[in-house]
């Protein structure tokens, strides 16, 4: 039984490693396989917004779980929620600006400014969550 558990851990480790390697290969390969990027600003902004959303999802999701587990006080949660909404609103505005940019009604500068605000909001949120929950909160 003990031997099987060990083998399972080794298998799990290599499975994770393989998936990570596949992901890296896909990333490296995508530059040459996809259609040519027509507008790098549009593509990069879209990827940035998705990256921000993923980082927020992991950090905020783990903090809320700590709150649900009773490890975060109500007043701390209230402050964190205000910051999370600030970030979320900035992110939503940036996403709408991206849509406007795609439609030709927003400039690259407007888009960049909106992205910068969203990124700053997430940095602020992550710093607060880390300050309140330390290593218990998952920050990428």
């Amino acid at each position: 039984m003990k031997k099987n558990t060990g083998a399972l851990y080794v298998f799990g480790f290599f499975a994770l490693l393989a998936l990570g390697c596949i992901g890296v290969l896909m990333l490296q390969g995508c530059a040459g396989t996809g259609e040519p990027i027509k507008d790098p600003i549009l593509t990069n902004a879209y990827r940035t917004l998705n990256g921000l959303d993923t980082a927020y999802d992991i950090a905020w999701g783990s903090f809320v779980q700590l709150y649900k587990d009773g490890l975060v006080k109500g007043e701390t949660m209230t402050s964190a929620q205000a910051m999370a909404w600030k970030y979320y609103n900035a992110w939503s505005k940036a996403a709408k600006t991206l849509k406007a940019y795609a439609a030709g009604t927003a400039s690259p500068d407007q888009l960049q400014a909106a992205l910068d605000l969203a990124r700053a909001g997430l940095d602020e949120l992550k710093a607060y969550l880390k300050e309140q929950a330390g290593d218990n909160v998952k920050i990428l």
Binding site: M26, L27, I37, G51, T54, V64, A95, K138, L140
Partner: protein
């Protein structure tokens, strides 16, 4: 790697280990997406959860 993700310090292995395969493949697909359409942007907006949604049971 996409500079946006590198800037955030996000690695695919981190995502795989913390969020599982679904999030992992979502991010991989997102990174591969070139020339997003308005529909792609709408889908991204719809998928993003607001802070209160995480509190739902």
């Amino acid at each position: 790697m996409n500079p946006a993700l590198a800037l955030l310090g996000v690695t695919l292995l981190d995502i795989l280990m913390t969020k599982g395969p679904d999030a992992y493949f979502r991010v991989v697909n997102m990174i591969q997406k070139d020339n997003p359409t308005p529909a792609d942007i709408d889908e991204m907006i719809l998928k993003a959860k607001n802070p209160d949604q995480y509190l739902l049971p």
